[in-house]
């Protein structure tokens, strides 16, 4: 009973958020809607027992990526719709009817493709018995230091590279 409630709440939040990101005309609103969508995804993780993933989704996305996005929006001049520096009015930054038509067309095409792939898969899928939920933290930890220790260490290198690279790129320059 409560499972379904949680699932529907999360799914609704997720899909409404995603739709909002597509159709919102204000970049700041789009960012906040993305936050809602990511919260929904965290809830969906919780429903299928991926508790650690849900929490990491919250920590990394809600705490990190969205704030980064918001800062980036502010650093590039807020959400006002820019024209470029020559003052020529172009297509507005948040899209126009023409771009939405293109987007709709692509979405239609890709949907058919994905649904075709999915149909093939769902034909062969049989629903099995679902195991009970248990904490995944210890198992993930064990996997991280045994089988996937290389990925664990390399991800630190990846993050170091991201840090150094991004700091070099974004560093304020004199003059």
């Amino acid at each position: 009973m409560f499972e379904n409630t949680l699932f529907f709440l999360s799914a609704a939040l997720c899909i409404i958020g995603a739709a909002g990101v597509v159709f919102s005309k204000n970049l700041m609103h789009a960012c906040v809607l993305l936050l809602a969508s990511l919260f929904g995804v965290a809830g969906l993780y919780a429903v299928i027992g991926a508790d650690f993933l849900a929490a990491s989704q919250l920590v990394i996305y809600a705490g990190g990526v969205v704030i980064l996005m918001l800062f980036a929006v502010m650093l590039t001049g807020g959400s006002s719709e820019n024209s470029n520096k020559f003052g020529i009015e172009k297509i507005p930054g948040m899209g126009s009817t023409k771009t939405y038509v293109f987007a709709g067309f692509s979405v239609l095409v890709i949907s058919f493709t994905i649904l075709k792939l999915m149909a093939n898969f769902m034909k062969s899928y049989t629903k099995g018995e679902l195991p009970a939920f248990s904490s995944t933290v210890e198992k993930i930890g064990t996997l991280l230091v045994t089988d996937h220790v290389l990925a664990f260490e390399i991800s630190s290198i990846l993050l170091l590279g991201a840090l150094v690279g991004a700091a070099v790129i974004a560093r304020p320059r004199k003059g």
Partner: protein, 101 residues
Amino acid sequence: MISLSSYLFISFTLFVAGIAVMIARKNIIAMMLGIELILNSAALNFAAYTRFINNNLEGHLMSLFIIVIAAAEAAVGLAIVIRFFQIKETIHIDDAAQLQS
């Protein structure tokens, strides 16, 4: 009610929304929101398959690394956007059509 197909449907929706955002928007930051949506749909798929197909926690690990990579991607991508803005004073994607400044 909570089944694999519903999860696949949700992640499909997220994916399609991401694609739509990436094509419809002309603002680079807005396009990056679309990328986040797409990455999330992939991560959600991994977690759903883990739950409903094989119950093997490596799917969770995969999702975790997708989240990590998404964070790194956002950091570097936004840094590039900001640098781009410092040079060109715009973040319109069509102004980024040249390889050379």
